[in-house]
């Protein structure tokens, strides 16, 4: 940062909210992806007015600005690829209002998902997306990535709950979108445009979220399948059954074997495990739904089906799924966690394809994920310090994306494009769609200062 810009930024936020110290610049170079790039400085912002001043300055001087929350993103979207300013929003962390009678919560972007969950719990309400990183990820980040989680099939993702936003635009204007009402068709849906925009269009400074009453009962079952196809059919047939489970998770063989090698869970080493949960307000209700799910499991030649009879037993059944990420994270020095998503009827095809890709490129890929909404997490394990392995990982990822698109799927269900998947955007989106996206970017951010380099928006 040159001397005069540095001084101008300090004038806006104060000395103690500006940093260009090495320790901060190193940590602001990374998120949870394999990407990194040094910023020029970091700023702890405290108000939309400050951010507006920062954006005006950045616009006039063509300095990149990268908003950042918990930086748990897996695609490099918080990595300051073009240098410039990392705008750390984690200290704008106030829950401004919870209005149960209006069924909404208004929060600053730095509020951690779990903190909102705790605040809503007192009222018997919750904000459903439940990302796996919810203990640390911020709601601003959840909005920027349109975060989702295990309950996506029934409850949707962040997008389904964002009613309105306050946004600082790249030129410094402060804009409100949406409303505090449960529905609105007043003008273009600017709110939804910002959800999943990865910090490329504006800086979200306030979020109005719809919240849901919490269910009070749940039933859980786990089924094992010797044949992947059977598990795949079970997933699509559950959808015919008239039931939408609150959770429908899958673990593939490689993930199961890895879990067995690294824990004492002693899972049956089958082709696939499906974990289902139904929720509601009475046990009768949840058991009724689960019985239908179990019926589908049985009709599709499940090898074993186990239903939990207590909360403790349910926790036991969850252990395998919950341990997957941690176990797989320890096996090799590096990993890439993908989140390709296909129509639910194609889950088995995707799993089979992943197996073939793994074999072809001689690289370990363990898969688990949200079968209930077709969103799988193939975790590619390798050592990035070995150039050959790094090359094979890239080749495997690319082939995985091609396969997903061929199956009618999408590159990303919940992690976003960021830097990691930017080169593959044109695989999924036709030239007209790419051109419209680039036009939108240009209209909001003509100087391309907001989170440049992401989502393949420059051309």
């Amino acid at each position: 940062m040159d001397k005069s810009t540095r001084q101008s930024l300090i004038d806006i936020v104060g000395e103690k909210n500006y940093t260009d110290r090495l320790i901060d610049l190193v940590s602001y170079s990374y998120d949870a992806s394999e990407h990194s790039h040094r910023p020029g400085c970091g700023i702890w912002a405290h108000s939309p007015e400050q951010i507006s001043e920062i954006m005006k300055l950045a616009s006039s001087k063509n300095i990149p600005v990268v908003p950042r929350g918990g930086a748990t993103g897996l695609t490099g979207m918080a990595v300051p690829q073009g240098g410039g300013i990392v705008l750390d929003l984690s200290r704008m962390n106030k829950i401004l209002n919870i209005s149960i009678q209006d069924r909404l919560a208004i929060v600053q972007p730095g509020v951690v998902y779990a903190d909102l969950e705790k605040a809503l719990d007192r009222f018997g309400f919750f904000f459903p997306p439940d990302p796996a990183s919810g203990k640390v990820s911020t709601l601003g980040g959840n909005v920027a990535t349109n975060a989702g989680g295990v309950k996506g099939a029934k409850y949707g993702t962040t997008r389904d709950y964002v009613l309105g936003l306050q946004v600082v635009l790249p030129d410094g204007r402060i804009m409100r979108t949406g409303s505090r009402t449960m529905k609105s068709v007043s003008g273009y849906d600017l709110t939804k445009l910002f959800v999943g925009s990865e910090g490329t269009l504006g800086i979200v400074t306030e979020i109005t979220l719809k919240v849901n009453p919490k269910t009070t009962a749940a039933s859980t079952a786990l089924a094992t399948f010797d044949d992947l196809e059977d598990a795949g059919h079970a997933v699509s047939q559950i959808m015919y059954s008239g039931i939408v489970p609150s959770v429908l998770e899958i673990l593939g063989r490689e993930a199961i074997v890895a879990i067995n090698q690294n824990t004492d869970l002693n899972l049956p080493e089958v082709d696939a495990i499906l974990l289902a949960e139904t929720d509601g307000y009475t046990t009768e209700e949840t058991e009724y739904q689960l019985a239908k799910v179990i019926d589908v499991f049985n009709r599709n030649r499940a090898k074993t089906v186990k239903q939990a009879t207590s909360e403790d037993e349910a926790a036991e059944l969850w252990k395998a799924r919950k341990s997957a990420y941690g176990v797989l994270a320890r096996i090799k020095p590096s990993f890439v966690l993908e989140d390709v998503t296909v129509p639910m009827s194609k889950i088995a095809d995707l799993l089979k394809g992943i197996k073939a890709i793994s074999k072809k490129h001689n690289i370990m890929i363990a898969t688990y994920g949200h079968a209930g909404d077709g969103n799988l997490h193939p975790q590619i394990l390798f050592d990035k310090y070995d150039p050959d392995q790094a090359r094979r990982q890239e080749a495997a990822s690319e082939e995985l994306f091609r396969l997903t698109i061929d199956l009618g799927g999408t590159l990303t269900g919940e992690h976003g494009i960021g830097l990691q998947k930017a080169p593959y955007m044109t695989l999924e989106h036709d030239p007209a769609a790419m051109s419209v996206m680039r036009s939108i970017k240009k209209m909001f951010d003509p100087k391309n200062i907001l989170n440049p380099g992401k989502m393949s928006l420059e051309n």
Partner: protein, 367 residues
């Protein structure tokens, strides 16, 4: 490429295993108090990764984060990748000291223990009005914080042990110096020798410590190996108390703060609870307890070197006690008592004690 530093030789794989998921942000007390990612465990691992990659070198600029870790291990026990951050930090601090980069507070600590018998450089040992260095079944080892800063708590603990007719002796103890290992230096062998000789001379079969860090030091640090080789057992006071049935009760809402050194580092979670639940039927857990307990902010030398953040960490911990409506916060570590007491706000009406002190007080009241 030849590894330049010991931390790299010992822990390269561990550092690289950090997948940068950032989940430690939910557990790191320094991050929680400051919301500054550079202080978080992930921030520290990223710096070490860049050092290993040759992008930066260890230097004075890194002191602020590498020496600002309470070594509470909450990140380690919650890390999906199993990265043992506290051990890596302790090693890199040694590397830092080797190249002449050290926080002045820790250089000072090392120097003080070359000339004095305690970390506070106090000249006059506290007088606890008991005969020292006599033959006894147990040696009670107080520890520096208990001897020089929380002496009331120590007096009460000794009174309770008298009441329970425990056959113990005090010794002319000197600092166990275990903490030096955490802040880039090494245990002072002269001090260790002196403690060992004094303990062995009493003919005791076990050492009971008032400080969980001293427990760890005697239990598993090489300079103190002689104690166990001679057949002595090492206990923390909480392990001894649980075997007594003390006939006293309180109606107050009592909670328990797990000291990191006793809980996560020694695995002692249930013994203190057994004792407390016998005397306090209205016992309530803090939201974060046992393996998930939040650090009070005093460990790893942070209280001395970064007092403001240390107090902020203690405030966050006390916030939890306030949330559950606790009237008494008990713990088993003089450092925790000291830091939590310093951080307590006037509006917070609860009292903070070591368990032994609280029990002794209750016994005084019924007398």
């Amino acid at each position: 490429m030849e590894a330049k530093y010991d931390f790299e030789r010992k822990y390269r794989e561990q550092v690289l295993k950090c997948s940068r998921c950032g989940f430690c942000q939910a557990h790191c007390p320094v991050f929680g108090a400051t919301l500054r990612p550079a202080y978080n465990a992930r921030g520290k691992m990223l710096i070490l990764k860049e050092v290993m990659d040759g992008k930066i070198d260890l230097n004075d600029e890194l002191i602020e984060t590498l020496f600002q870790c309470t070594t509470c291990a909450n990140c380690y026990t919650n890390c999906p990748s199993g990265v043992n951050v506290p051990e890596i930090i302790k090693q890199v601090r040694k590397d830092m000291v080797n190249i002449g980069s050290c926080h002045p507070a820790f250089t000072g600590m090392n120097e003080v223990l070359k000339q004095h018998t305690n970390i506070y450089a106090e000249d006059e040992p506290e007088d606890f009005e008991r005969e020292k260095n006599k033959q006894a079944e147990y040696v009670f080892f107080i520890g520096c914080v208990g001897a020089y800063r929380e002496d009331e708590s120590t007096l009460a603990t000794l009174a309770l042990m008298d009441r329970l007719k425990i056959d113990y002796t005090l010794i002319d103890e000197v600092c166990c110096s275990g903490v030096l290992e955490d802040v880039g230096h090494r245990i002072n062998e002269d001090l260790a020798r002196k403690n060992i000789d004094l303990i062995l001379a009493t003919g005791a079969k076990a050492v009971i410590t008032g400080c969980p860090y001293c427990t760890r030091t005697f239990d598993n640090r090489a300079p103190y190996a002689a104690l166990k080789e001679k057949g002595l057992k090492i206990y923390h006071i909480s392990q001894v108390l649980k075997d007594f049935d003390i006939d006293v009760k309180t109606d107050k809402i009592v909670t328990y703060h797990d000291p990191c050194d006793l809980g996560r580092h020694c695995g002692i979670f249930e013994e203190p609870r057994e004792t407390i639940q016998k005397i306090a039927p209205n016992f309530k857990e803090l939201p974060h307890n046992r393996m998930d307990a939040n650090c009070c902010g005093a460990g790893g030398g942070v209280r001395g070197a970064y007092a403001k953040n240390s107090i902020a960490m203690a405030r966050r911990r006390l916030q939890e006690a306030e949330e559950i409506g606790a009237e008494v916060v008990l713990t088993e570590c003089n450092s925790c008592v000291h830091n939590l007491s310093n951080a307590k706000l006037r509006k917070q009406n609860f009292e903070i004690y070591n368990t032994a002190q609280f029990i002794n007080q209750l016994l005084d009241e019924v007398k």
